[in-house]
């Protein structure tokens, strides 16, 4: 694969870095990544696994069914190139599967039986964090140092995109929680004003009425406040008529 043109590589990197689109989908993105990397090799297939927040690996995407099986074998039997790359945070390259039975007693014979001759794997890493691994399964393909560097760089760029997506998702969830919490406080104040006016009492007294009503009816305060601001007539005790 050392014959990849600079132009083709540049396009590849742009594709892989492009995670800031409106309808970004992690699985689709990883699917694209595995297909693109497989495309670099001519006779190789690519599979990818990611770790969840507890560090457990799970299959995410593969360029074809045979690569998906290779990833699943590793996860099921607990050995193989991706697990090594994940554990050591270093690439595993040019392993001849026919001679790797001592290294991976479970994975090597199954991969060889499936028709693969060589295996490589690259950690998906950002600084010290390793979030997964990408495996490349091929016929007698040899990767030289430059090839390995290109594949590792693609993996690194993909990780930046993935972590960015994770950070944005977390940000959106937390923003929603913050706004929701502030909003429920505001609604309670508005409800106090509504009940105060409707019942001719002070806002403090109105709050006591609302709280007592919520307790008596086993409802949450914010839920009662919501009903007051949206549908007061349904609450005759609190001033609705």
């Amino acid at each position: 694969m050392t014959t990849v043109s600079a132009e083709r590589l540049a396009t590849l990197f742009v594709d892989v870095a492009d995670t800031l689109v409106d309808d970004f989908d992690v699985v689709e993105f990883l699917q694209m990544l595995t297909r693109r990397v497989a495309g670099l090799f001519g006779t190789g297939e690519v599979g990818l696994m990611l770790a969840d927040h507890r560090g457990r690996l799970a299959f995410m995407a593969a360029s074809d069914e045979s690569a998906r099986l290779m990833e699943l074998f590793q996860l099921q039997y607990g050995d193989g190139p991706c697990l090594d790359a994940f554990r050591t945070a270093r690439p595993v390259t040019n392993v001849n599967l026919a001679a790797a039975t001592a290294k991976w007693p479970e994975f090597a014979p199954r991969a060889a039986q499936a028709g693969f001759q060589s295996a490589h794997a690259f950690p998906l890493r950002l600084r010290k964090e390793v979030i997964g691994a990408m495996g490349v399964f091929g016929s007698a393909t040899e990767l030289d140092e430059a090839d390995a560097h290109i594949v590792q760089s693609l993996a690194d760029v993909a990780v930046i995109g993935l972590l960015q997506e994770r950070a944005i998702h977390r940000g959106e969830v937390l923003t929603g929680q913050l706004q929701g919490a502030l909003n429920s406080r505001i609604v309670i104040e508005q409800a106090k004003g509504i009940v105060a006016q409707a019942r001719g009492v002070s806002p403090d007294a109105a709050f006591s009425l609302i709280r007592d009503y919520a307790r008596r009816n086993n409802r949450r305060l914010s839920e009662v406040a919501d009903t007051i601001v949206t549908n007061l007539p349904s609450l005759p005790h609190l001033g609705g008529h």
């Binding site: 940000g171 923003t175 502030l182 909003n183 505001i186 004003g193 509504i194 105060a196 006016q197 601001v229």
Partner: protein, 245 residues
């Protein structure tokens, strides 16, 4: 990646090194006050403020660099106009290096209030991450002039750190509650406004949004602060159903 990190680290240190003050609020609000002060100094500004919004268009001041800027930041909410609201709505920075240049027609009420307080330039930066929006950072300057490219980059970095501060605070919050210190700052200080809104809605049989508009119109016509009018409504010194306002 590394270059961006360096800016974040440097600006984060400016915020961390900012000494706390006796009146500082606890939690996120106190951190944002220090951020505003550090941003004001770094950007040669006379003052800075962070406003946060709740759903339903309700906004509130979370922190200001100096107490004198609290009313200015708050006024945008009272009037329903200003650079902070525009930065938030448009999701992009609002840069007004010379307030006498068109700002009067853009924000008739707010621009003249700024001018009266000696503000000559204002810059607002949205606080956002992905599609989510949290509020805006306002930077006020006493002199006409644009931000330099370095200042612009620093201002965006201050805005990023304000976002991180808010999100980290929210990540540690009790489920269902807002980040520590924000409840009191954003909602508590203006509790009477929301109560007055509810009362006026009942007095006139109108929606909460219309009630807020009526309160704003009344404050504007009487040339009084919205908060003062709200206090009078809650104390029943002002009523909207007796034909007076």
């Amino acid at each position: 990646m590394t270059v961006v990190d360096e800016f974040v680290v440097r600006v984060a240190r400016l915020v961390a090194d900012e000494p706390s003050r006796p009146g500082d609020h606890h939690g996120v609000a106190g951190k944002l006050r220090r951020l505003c002060t550090a941003a004001g100094r770094t950007l040669s500004a006379s003052g800075a403020g962070v406003s946060v919004l709740a759903t339903g268009g309700m906004r509130g001041v979370a922190a200001v660099s100096e107490p004198a800027y609290e009313p200015l930041e708050e006024l945008q909410f009272s009037l329903g106009e200003g650079p902070c609201l525009d930065a938030f709505t448009d999701r992009r920075p609002v840069l007004v290096p010379d307030l006498s240049d068109g700002a009067m027609s853009r924000w008739p009420g707010y621009a003249s209030a700024l001018h009266d307080k000696g503000v000559r330039a204002v810059f607002a930066f949205p606080l956002q991450i992905g599609a989510a929006r949290l509020g805006a950072l306002d930077v006020f300057r006493g002199e006409v002039g644009s931000l330099t490219p370095d200042e612009f980059r620093d201002a965006l970095t201050f805005a990023d750190i304000a976002v991180m501060t808010l999100l980290d605070g929210q990540a540690r919050a009790v489920p269902g509650a807002a980040a520590d210190g924000l409840d009191d700052e954003v909602v508590g200080q203006r509790a009477e406004l929301f109560q007055a809104q509810g009362m006026v809605a009942v007095q006139l049989g109108i929606s909460l949004a219309d009630a807020l508009a009526r309160l704003r119109a009344y404050a504007y016509a009487e040339d009084r602060a919205l908060g003062d009018v709200a206090r009078d409504v809650v104390a029943r010194r002002v009523s909207f159903d007796s034909g007076r306002p």
